[in-house]
Symmetry: C2
Subunit: 340 residues, 2 copies
DNA sequence: CACTGGAAGTTTTACGTATAACTGAGATCT
DNA sequence: AGATCTCAGTTATACGTAAAACTTCCAGTG
């Protein structure tokens, strides 16, 4: 019988069932066809059940040299977006017998800690958002299979990447506003050096350059409602001519900050100012008027990320193609006032 | 030299430094004082560095019988609240050489999967929110040290619990509204069987029973802005007399749903209807008017949870005492219209 | 009847680490 | 000078599992 206070091992189960430890491993590992009789197998299963046996994962991982666990490195979980990414990744993972461990990189400007010091699991691979860039050096140090989310495909040849079609989303937003007659834009940009935000800036500038008579001003803000409010208020009040009639925000949180700034300044949305976001968080329909934004499918993003990592692990090459996004027009955008 | 394609082991380091594997373990484990000379130690460290040696955690965990990793079981991460709990727990943990693995229980009504199947790490202990109740049976099956967050202290004697002083928060909200002259209340309650929400209902009912001439109606809604909107709209439109002048919501998301319902029905907040929430999410100041709510310190909650678990692991008894909360009065509450 | 072949197991080994127990050489003490 | 002690290591072992290699027994075959 097992020593008191200790979890039972496969050897304890073997003793209880009157067989060898190897037989237990075969039966519980479902590799017993033609190696162990049905009656013995049932006896082993019964013994395992009554003892409450659970295999020691550390031992199994050591023996097998793999853990069927992957790490998902994301920025701070201040919105539900990366929760959706996790959900999608975990769904695909569990279908393949994998587990996903979540590592939110520490909030604030703390020094990059080694993610493996915090997620003290042995890992088979890593999925990392480019927004959690600080952690990347530590990851590259290990030779773990890696999939990057929303990262520059040019800058990371050799590494698998999965991207949202952000560029298309930006074009849709811009064309929507141009169609409403807007010509003068404020870009409320995320104050984060990350590829996904560089794309927004580049694509927006490129599209406007094609249309004569447009202007674009950019202001950066930390990704939070409070931070965006401060930046937007400063930028909207001291605005030199031409005064912008539309604010394009890098994400919905920044848009919510723009709402607060407009409210403080007595500027009505959408009559005097159109605002757009990106993500389509729950927040987007909680604010008044509801926000015109670009819907990003976070769960699909996570699914595709995990599929890509599985492909890398199995030596296949991950399927290409950006994930489509969709413009959702709501009440925060309206025709620009006709120029006088 | 290490076989190509394999990660170097401590034995490879030993070979490179010309010492035994035991010496490597001693040096890197910082247990070499008086056992290995300074010059040899430096040689070992140098060899480990050039080989890029990283200890195999599975082997270490197996050897030591502990992992210095704990699991944090939380409900779906749809708000930043549990992100804050994680941040606090991870901060305390890292100070003690522990890591925290996050297990968000699956969204939706899927059957409770074994959290250990997903978080495939060997674990030293578990911190679990009572809102992720489905996972609890699986946890209790193992004999892991456990700390419960926001769970009935009566119902779980023997298990360490860490609680927010929700009851005090509810009393503060209720007294605030009573002081403004409100007498007829709608309780927009979370449609989740969890102790933390039972406390809200019980405490609210108890406080109102002490004040003559008050009425209380309760409607349940799933914890989401959309779900709350539907429930609140139905309840506010078909309202039998006496019509409520204040809506007390179990959390800020529900309050945001109440805002949307009021807007649809043309009811002005706070002139015609006062609304309160709980949590003080970023959302609370993004909506207009800003929400009167109860601030819960998520990070402190996580810190205290981790401290309690460390106490349990070390055989000490965790310090008692609920975590204080704070009423934050903003623009969503106003004096009740004088009764005619 | 000797021989093959499968069923039903068992024995043994390796995974990589941490550490207890041991060893040999020189320095110190009596 | 012999005994003792410290230093600087080494050798050996255990953690729990999975699986390769082996053993034994027996039924069927030529």
């Amino acid at each position: 019988m097992p020593r008191a206070g200790t979890r039972p091992t496969s050897r304890d189960v073997a003793r209880a069932a009157g067989v060898s430890q190897a037989a237990v491993s075969l039966v519980l590992g479902d590799k017993w066809r033609g190696r162990v009789s049905e009656t013995t197998a049932e006896r082993v299963r019964e013994a395992a059940r009554t003892l409450g046996y659970r295999p020691n994962l550390a031992a199994r991982n050591l023996r097998l040299g793999r853990t069927r666990t992957v790490l998902l490195v994301v920025p701070a979980l201040t919105t539900e977006f990366f929760a959706g990414v996790y959900t999608g990744a975990a769904r695909v993972a569990s279908r393949h017998g994998f587990g996903v461990v979540l590592y939110p990189s520490p909030e604030g400007t703390g020094p990059a800690r080694d993610p493996f010091a915090s997620a003290q699991a042995a890992l088979d691979g890593v999925i990392a958002s480019s927004m959690a860039a600080e952690a990347l050096t530590a990851i590259r140090g290990d030779q773990l299979p890696l999939v990057m989310l929303d990262s520059d495909p040019e800058g990371s040849v050799g590494t698998a990447t999965v991207n949202l079609d952000i560029a298309h989303g930006v074009r849709q937003v811009t064309d929507h506003l141009l169609g409403l007659g807007h010509r003068h834009f404020l870009h409320l940009a995320a104050d984060v050096a990350s590829w996904t935000f560089e794309v927004r800036a580049r694509e927006l500038a490129a599209r406007l350059r094609e249309v004569p008579g447009t202007s674009l001003r950019t202001v950066r803000a930390p990704i939070s409602i409070r931070g965006a409010e401060a930046s937007a208020k400063a930028s909207l009040s001291e605005a030199p001519a031409p005064r912008p009639t539309a604010v394009i925000c890098d994400d919905d949180q920044l848009a919510a900050g723009a709402y607060k700034a407009a409210r403080r300044l007595g500027v009505r949305i959408p009559e005097e100012l159109s605002v757009t976001g990106m993500d389509d968080l729950a927040l987007a329909t909680a604010i008044d008027p509801e926000l015109t934004t670009v819907r990003l499918d976070a769960e699909l993003f996570g699914e595709r990320g995990m599929q890509a990592l599985l492909a890398v692990l199995e030596g296949r090459s991950p399927s290409a193609g950006d994930i489509p996004v969709e413009l959702v027009v709501r009440g925060s955008t309206a025709p620009a006032r006709s120029p006088h």
